[in-house]
């Protein structure tokens, strides 16, 4: 009831209120009237009866005194004019009925002797006994009986009237509601319609019409003011949103420009390194020069490698930022990776700085699903940092251990799921102050600025490492008790169960690798490179390795050479090694052209080393994409692989 009333339209509510109010008022009014009527009727009836009894009693005194029943009957018969009186009797002083009315009424209708004086309501009758006095003597009793039917008839009439009035009031209420509805519910409905239009159409320019200054009028005004305010603020919001969007676009464009700049920069920085590196490689292979200036050659190669590494880091950071770093994950034993990294990147510098390096490996689960080169990069970074920031005579301790799921979360069980491999690298270096702790993983941050100058580097190592480990589903944490108190960097990686076949393969692999370089093939190489120094250097290295090298500087030249050789059977090129950025086209175009007419395997050389660039080279038909500066060993292996697959 309450719920249905709450949900009924205001029009109905108004009608109901008016009907209820008027009905209630009428009911009260009618009840009061009827009650009043009953009371007055009874009172007047009683008074009337008393008067009648008085008159009849008084008139019948002589009849009683002189025992004249006939006259008494005559007196009583006058009551026939009083419709309310249904019967009457006069008792004599002995208490016997002296006369009765109506005269033909049976005696049994009357009390044989008078009852005590007074009035009594008995059922539908009012009875009255009153003494008849003559002077001071009671000479008889008058009895009157009145029917209340008249009263009930009157109440019925009142009830009927009340019903009619109620019906009229209801009709009036309905009529009133229709008029009132225009005054009250109409503005509310209009307001509701406007509100709906606003919320559905998001149009804040509409306004509700005000009909007066009552509460609804005030509500309408407030509503309109609210709309105005919303309109203003939404306009402002839209404007600021627009500004933000354009700012964001600008920022994105700037960021893209920066990334592009970084890519171009690293390419341009790498290009000059290639000939230097290949020259060093060649010089190192020359035993005479190598014995004469071994330290200088080593220094040159190491610095160029460091330079290349820095440029690679820059590229990595750009890739991480743009979300373009891709992982080639496979199940690998982490321990050899770490050991290899320690030997190659740490042992040398540690020896020079007289650092004590200790390892503690207590581990059973060592396999993880990782990108081998990226993992190596992480270890290299961290070990480099440890060596770099630890003063001579310090110590570096490396701890490798497992954290089992049942120790962390027993519900995960014993199947190796959730087991973690932890590599902890602890040094006695410069440490990390608490205020720098939060910043060390940010790119281009290296603790305090003053240290950057002392230790060099771009400060990208930790940021890249963390990004790589997190991509592997692991985490990197740093701990330090403060400045100059050393620091501990810990890597946590989820492990995978050790594959059963892994061990056998491992033993095969090195054997295969040893066999391959033992049979170097003499190949006819077409080298396409517009950078003269690089071309000369590569030419020298390739020739030194026993290959026959033909050099072309442009796409057109290369095409002509290929078609010319195609006509000399037994003299076709076995392999194409091509730069991508050429004066009259790109290496990709060249590769695609050759693929249709004279297909030969190709290796792309490029300063651009992004995933996208590598994919483009593969799509064009190249077997390998080698990023400049060219690592001679890498190029040599690639050539050998192609030569093996060719035969």
């Amino acid at each position: 009831m309450a719920i249905s009333l709450r949900d009924t339209p205001i029009k109905r509510k108004l009608m109901l209120v008016i009907l209820l109010a008027s009905g209630f008022a009428l009911f009260l009014m009618g009840s009061a009237l009827i009650t009043y009527e009953v009371i007055t009727f009874r009172r007047s009836l009683a008074v009337n009866m008393r008067v009648l009894a008085e008159i009849i009693g008084s008139n019948s005194t002589a009849s009683l005194a002189f025992k004249d029943a006939k006259s008494a009957r005559e007196i009583l018969s006058a009551l026939s004019a009083e419709h309310q009186i249904t019967s009457a009797a006069i008792y004599d002083s002995n208490g016997q009925i002296f006369a009765r009315f109506p005269t033909d009424a049976p005696l049994t209708d009357f009390s044989l002797t008078p009852q005590p004086d007074g009035q009594r309501f008995q059922g539908a009758h009012l009875e009255m006994f009153r003494p008849i006095m003559l002077e001071k003597n009671r000479i008889g009793t008058i009895y009157l009986q009145a029917a209340l039917a008249a009263m009930y008839a009157r109440i019925a009439v009142y009830g009927g009237l009340l019903l009619i009035v109620t019906a009229c009031a209801a009709l009036g209420a309905i009529a009133l509601t229709t008029t009132l509805q225009k005054r009250i519910s109409q503005p509310i409905l209009e307001l509701a319609n406007v509100a709906t239009a606003v919320s559905e159409g998001q149009d804040y320019s509409v306004r509700a019409t005000k009909h007066g200054t009552d509460e609804i009028g005030q509500l309408t005004e407030s509503f309109n003011q609210m709309l105005t305010r919303i309109d203003e603020s939404s306009t402002a919001l839209m404007a600021s949103e627009e500004r933000l969007r354009s700012a964001l676009e600008e920022a994105e464009a700037a960021n893209k420009a920066k990334d592009n700049f970084l890519a171009i920069l690293s390419h341009e920085l790498r290009t000059p390194l290639t000939p230097v590196l290949s020259t060093v490689a060649m010089l190192e292979e020359d035993s005479e020069i190598h014995t004469r200036i071994p330290r200088e050659l080593e220094m040159i190669r190491r610095n160029i490698e460091v330079e290349a590494r820095l440029i690679d880091d820059l590229l990595d950071v750009t890739g991480i930022i743009r979300g373009k770093m891709e992982l080639r994950r496979q199940i690998v034993d982490i321990r050899p990776l770490l050991e290899h990294a320690m030997q190659n990147y740490c042992a040398e510098e540690a020896g020079r700085k007289k650092l004590r390096v200790s390892t503690e490996i207590t581990v059973s689960e060592t396999h993880a699903l990782v990108d081998t080169s990226r993992m190596t990069q992480v270890f290299w970074n961290l070990l480099q940092n440890a060596c770099k920031f630890t003063p001579p005579g310090g110590a570096i301790s490396i701890r490798v251990y497992n954290e089992f799921a049942r120790e962390i979360a027993p519900e995960l069980g014993h199947d190796g799921l959730g087991t973690k491999l932890i590599v902890e690298i602890k040094d006695t270096g410069i440490g990390i102050s608490p205020e720098n702790m939060s910043r060390i993983f940010n790119a281009f941050e290296q603790g305090e600025r003053s240290r950057t100058r002392v230790f060099g580097g771009l400060g990208l190592g930790l940021a890249i490492s963390r990004a790589i480990i997190e991509m592997h589903g692991g985490s990197v944490t740093a701990e330090s008790e403060g400045t100059d108190k050393g620091s501990t960097i810990a890597i946590r990686l989820p492990t995978v169960p050790t594959p059963a076949t892994k061990r056998e393969k491992k033993q095969e692999d090195p054997a295969a690798a040893k066999r391959a370089p033992s049979k170097p093939r003499r190949l006819r190489v077409l080298l396409v490179e517009d950078h003269l120094d690089t071309a000369n250097q590569l030419n020298r290295l390739l020739s030194h390795a026993g290959h026959e090298v033909t050099w072309a500087a442009t796409v057109r030249e290369a095409r002509e050479l290929v078609s010319a050789r195609a006509n000399q059977p037994g003299n076709e090129f076995n392999i194409l090694i091509s730069d991508l950025g050429l004066p009259d086209g790109s290496g990709h175009d060249l590769m695609r052209d050759l693929a249709s007419d004279h297909p030969i395997p190709g290796i792309a050389l490029s300063g651009y080393g992004m995933t996208e660039d590598i994919q483009n080279s593969m799509a064009a038909g190249f077997s390998r994409h080698i990023t400049k500066p060219v690592d001679w060993q890498e190029l040599k292996t690639a050539i050998q692989k192609i030569a093996v697959s060719e035969t």
Binding site: A65, F66, E135
Partner: protein, 182 residues
């Protein structure tokens, strides 16, 4: 209840039988004629108003005179005993003959006095005395009220003119129950 009522009825019957055995048999005339007439006489006092001049002093009693033989015995005395008319006590006087009639307010002329009616009425003429007779012709002689016995009942006949002439006012109620003789 029923048993009680039965016992009562039996007791009443026995009592009545005993009483009737003691009282001698009643002659043809109604035994209550004079009892009724005595009450009537007393009741006239309530429906007739005497002028103040009819009383010599404020505390003078209302005198009912009986001329000749008194047929009431103790009945009338009992009827008026302790009763008053406008705070005046009611007394009864007896007059042997018309010449004995003294100052009175209501004079009852018995059946035995039929031959002397005129003399009696003359004695009270022009005085405010209500004359009550027993015979039908009492009114013809100039009487005011007659109470002739008619079989089992006593009739009441009134001559209002005679009452008015004697400066007496009679209640309409009395006239209503009486036979009016004009």
């Amino acid at each position: 209840m029923d048993l009680l009522r039965a016992i009562r009825i039996i007791t009443a019957t026995v009592l009545i039988a005993l009483l009737s055995g003691w009282v001698p048999a009643v002659p043809a005339a109604p035994p209550n004629e004079y009892a009724l007439k005595s009450v009537f006489l007393y009741n006239f006092c309530h429906f007739i108003d005497w002028p103040e001049s009819a009383f010599s002093s404020p505390d003078e009693p209302l005198i009912i005179g009986i001329v000749g033989e008194d047929p009431f015995g103790a009945l009338l005395k009992e009827a008026v005993e302790g009763e008053t008319y406008h705070n005046r006590p009611i007394v009864i006087e007896h007059y042997r003959s018309p010449k004995d009639i003294k100052h009175c307010h209501l004079l009852f002329v018995g059946r035995t006095e039929a031959s002397r009616v005129d003399a009696i009425l003359a004695a009270v003429n022009s005085k405010s005395v209500v004359t009550v007779g027993e015979t039908e012709d009492f009114l013809d002689h100039g009487g005011m009220i007659a109470l002739p016995a008619d079989r089992n009942r006593v009739r009441l006949r009134i001559r209002p003119a005679a009452l008015r002439a004697a400066n007496l006012s009679v209640s309409s109620k009395l006239l209503r129950v009486a036979d009016i003789d004009s």
